[in-house]
Symmetry: C2
């Protein structure tokens, strides 16, 4: 397998991208191709690796030169159309030509989604590709779809999200008959806005036809219990959900740190608990769940968080390899729908 | 002031209601009137208080007899219309007759909101009353409106929510020119669903006319930073937001406890940090923020959480007194809008 990585995308590019790639390469079977300005990448790789390490990894780490960079603030369609030699567009071209099995970028999200849709193309039968991300729960976590790409949805979009989630989870995560929950503000049939009520009725009546193990509506406070494998929602609500988690996580961290560091005594008292606090922090660390998969396009595309650090890239690369190996995208394309 | 409390409402009624009332009564100026089955309430009060305490509080704690109880599963409109002698309907009647200054209930939410709208009535100029709740932030917290009563909204509803929040926060919480943020999935003008985009344009152009200090769109991950005093959203998104916080809070608590109790060593090690962990838990304890205010009806109505314990009731009673004293509802009614 070959993993294509946009070396120039993200707030911490290219440093964090390259460091993450060097870390991950030891643990994966695939080859990594860093796409971007060759000279810049080469210099960074040499800074990071000593001669011995360099010779160790050189057979698995390649560079594909691309002169331009799509910046974070650029208008997506325009950037994709005009910057033909950008690391992002070159990455998509390689993916299309089968010169890579999955493409990762932490760059301009709009440009990545637009590029994936325009250059890679939608899978036949999928009206709206959607961004998805794994989130923590008391069990093995759950997949959120749509995490933010489609702000205005119709019931058919949510149903297709459910189908894509089902195929991805069974193929790539080996979850048999994944349990699909509809994000709602109550579990009774009359609860929810129009979109949710209509989707609920359609899924309740025809989930077999769609090949979905629909477990009903679920409230946001219950999704972390391990009762579902995928949470279906429109991109507006999904993005609010995701960012509420993120905000709460930050608030919790600040309050915990403040409580532990209130005075010298509590600081000293906290030292023996540091391993436990670290274990706790690890269970709440989203970076381990990797990047966001863009499901519904013809080839595997992974969006890494814009502010990804080297550890995030490391996790995302490992996840991207599993995603590509699973052939979930091929299954989606082969008329599962 | 007189605080009316539905003694029969909520999962832990009447025990938790009465205990909370007995706790709060020492610290407030107001009289408390417990509405419900006199015999049951009397028995409970005697169980909780010894003779001395009873004589201490008896001048401030009254009972208003009501024979019926609206149960949690009942259909709101039907329950309100048929159970004329329920603790909830009697409470509303007393509120209407000025026999109390604020009404608190932890009972059937739908029935409470329906009762407030039908029996107490909407303030002229307010199309949709909304449920609001204070939530924690790094500063003094912020008000969420709508927290779940209106699942389908138009821009005018959100604008009225912003107006009500502004008046409540300046009157009852003494916040000068409260900062109003619109819950969105980005801060750029083109971000959001149709509702949010239209509301944004209207508020951007006419916030002066509406008397609102509009600070723009805000993402869910940033609302806890202390940058806003009120968060405006439709009831569907607001309820998802609120319950995501709740779910994350539970997940954090479980993971932290699990990490601290993993083995006997980490349990012993955690003992000196317990005061700090407790301080932390306190900062994340929603009960301190009290109940949910139903803004937009002619008299002050407060919804306590269905699963409120005695401490929640204690906090809610204190908050309800401040709410009634502030005269925010009168100001809303006096044509501020």
């Amino acid at each position: 397998m070959k993993i294509l990585i946009d070396a120039m995308g993200g707030d911490n590019a290219p440093d964090a991208v390259i460091k993450g790639a060097v870390e991950a390469i030891k643990e994966i079977d695939s080859e990594i191709i860093l796409v971007g300005q060759e000279e810049v990448i080469n210099k960074k790789v040499k800074e990071i690796c000593d001669v011995e390490k360099l010779s160790d990894i050189s057979s698995k780490l390649k560079i594909k030169h691309a002169t331009e960079v799509i910046e974070m603030g650029e208008i997506p369609t325009q950037a994709i159309r005009s910057k033909k030699d950008s690391s992002m567009v070159v990455g998509f071209d390689m993916l299309n030509k089968n010169e890579g099995d999955v493409f990762i970028s932490a760059g301009n999200t709009g440009a990545l989604l637009t590029g994936a849709t325009l250059l890679v193309g939608r899978i036949k039968g999928i009206d709206r590709p959607a961004i998805t991300t794994m989130l923590p729960s008391e069990a093995h976590g759950f997949l959120l779809i749509d995490a933010g790409s489609n702000t205005n949805c119709r019931p058919i979009n949510l149903i297709q999200f459910a189908q894509m989630a089902s195929i991805y989870l069974s193929d790539a995560c080996e979850i048999k008959s994944p349990r699909i929950g509809l994000l709602n503000i109550g579990t009774e049939e009359n609860k929810g806005n129009e979109l949710v009520k209509e989707t609920f009725q359609e899924l309740k009546q025809n989930s077999d036809k769609y090949g979905i193990n629909f477990v009903g509506s679920i409230e946001a406070r219950d999704v972390f219990s391990g009762a579902i494998d995928a949470l279906i929602t429109d991109g507006f609500t999904g993005n609010v959900f995701l960012k509420t988690m993120e905000g709460m996580g930050k608030l919790v961290k600040k309050n915990l740190t403040k409580s532990l560091k209130r005075n010298i005594l509590s600081m000293i008292a906290s030292i023996p608990t540091l391993p436990a606090i670290k274990r706790f922090a690890k269970t709440m660390d989203y970076r381990e769940y990797g990047g966001a998969l863009f499901l519904g396009v013809k080839r595997p595309v992974v969006k890494a968080h814009g502010s990804s650090d080297e550890y995030s890239f490391y996790c995302t690369i490992k996840q991207a390899e599993a995603f590509a190996k699973s052939k979930a995208v091929e299954h989606l394309g082969r008329g599962y729908l």
